[in-house]
């Protein structure tokens, strides 16, 4: 609410000064400061969750898109998406996969913590650097989950799953482009107006 008001009051001000002082303004002053809308964030999370209910995850190296999106929002919007969100969606995946309750929840929470912990450092970097930083987070979270899984099942599932975090890191820049799309369009509109 507060943030929205900030935006609305700032927008006319910048437009007024744009004519005279546009040359002095840094080119990239505002684009990434503007928060994504809460509705959009939840829409993307729920959509990826619904997609995760489909059987494509039977393939073991498949990237966990839900985890990827939740980690992405944890990094970019830590005020709205937190570890609790990750935990709850993890539980839902546990029930869907009919595995032990808490397995996915733990992995999701760990990855979300990684994103939250790296947030102050990574916020200002581009998506490729973010992806490189998030790769070890995903690998670590996933391997802790796999270790617990192996402990409860008494069997080791092989190494194929290691591809999953790699795919997730590779997809990170793409997710960055897609999930920041509404903002980018706004920025373009502003640029055209000026």
């Amino acid at each position: 609410m507060l943030r929205k008001m900030d935006n609305s009051t700032r927008a006319p001000a910048t437009r007024r000064t744009a004519s005279s002082l546009s040359s002095l303004e840094p080119i990239d002053a505002s684009p990434f400061k503007r928060p994504s809308s809460g509705l959009f964030i939840w829409f993307t999370i729920v959509l990826t969750w619904l997609i995760s209910l489909l059987p494509w995850r039977l393939w073991q190296p498949a990237p966990d898109l839900l985890l990827l999106v939740i980690a992405f929002w944890c990094l970019n919007e830590p005020q709205r998406v937190s570890m609790v969100t990750a935990f709850i969606f993890g539980l839902l995946m546990d029930v869907h996969d009919s595995t032990l309750l808490g397995g996915h929840a733990l992995v999701y929470t760990l990855a979300a913590y990684g994103a939250v912990a790296l947030q102050p450092r990574l916020r200002h970097f581009n998506s490729v650097i973010q992806a490189i930083h998030m790769l070890p987070v995903f690998v670590l979270a996933d391997s802790i989950g796999r270790l617990l899984y192996a402990w409860t099942a008494g069997e080791w599932a092989g190494w194929q799953w290691l591809w999953s975090p790699v795919f997730m890191a590779v997809l990170w820049p793409l997710v960055d482009i897609l999930l920041h799309m509404p903002q980018r369009r706004l920025d373009d509109g502003d640029a055209g107006a000026v």
């Binding site: 039977l58 808490g102 099942a153």
Partner: protein, 296 residues
Amino acid sequence: MQETGTIRLFKRGPTAELRLFVLALLAVALLVVDGRWSVLQPARQALSVALYPFQRLMLAPRDAVEHFNDWKDAASLARSEKEALQRQRIELAQISTHAAQLATENEQLRRLLRVADEVTQPSVAVEVLYEPPNAFSHHLIFNKGSSSGIKPGMPLIDEGGIVGQIVRVTPFTSEAALLTDDKVSIPVQVLRNGLRLIAFGGNVSGKVEVRYLTANVDLVPGDTLITSGIGGLFPAGLSVATVDSVARDPATGFALAEATPLSHPERHRHFLVLLVDVSTQDLHQEGLSHVAQDGQ
């Protein structure tokens, strides 16, 4: 207005580390509790019921495509099926006469021996909803649950014979462990000579193993295994598997047979759950909840 607009210098609420600690501890506690006891079953059922509409929603396009394909191929399918059925009818004609003759004879003998008649088993047809992504176990989730009278422990069959056993039930879905799951065991009998054995889900995927055989056991490749009815859960006389090979180990003095299941859980979508009476099998259910959890 000014008060609400003040900048927060310090983060409110617990730190990220504390949250991580609490949530991770909760997750591990859930893992341990769910692995050892079945107290979390109601919570899982509630979540599962909440999930069900979303699962159906997401699988609706697939179901629609399958429905459309069925409809499109209906004519050719009906034709080929008709031919197959005609051929089968000719083949079965003489067998059925023979069977009818045997049935009357059997009835007469039963009356003479005062053996109670076999009751026909009530059953529920179920359809595969999805297959959970799981590296270790072979499970399937079906679209009917306790609201249709399904209970853990009930056998699952198709036209080939036993497919598996229901291990977990929610109001609208049920989960079955397949015959080939290494936690399932079925009391069987060799059709040829009536030898009683126990078949286990194999280490080799898609196979069933018969273990603990004496080295001189009368079992040869090609033998058919049927349920013996011992244990009370699986009705007697359902076909289970055909024996592929018998490996005799002279060192231990025991033999191990490998068999291929006669049912085909990977081919069809529809199966039948036999509504046997499992209410008195408390001990067995205890074991089954282990199957449901260990299989992960």
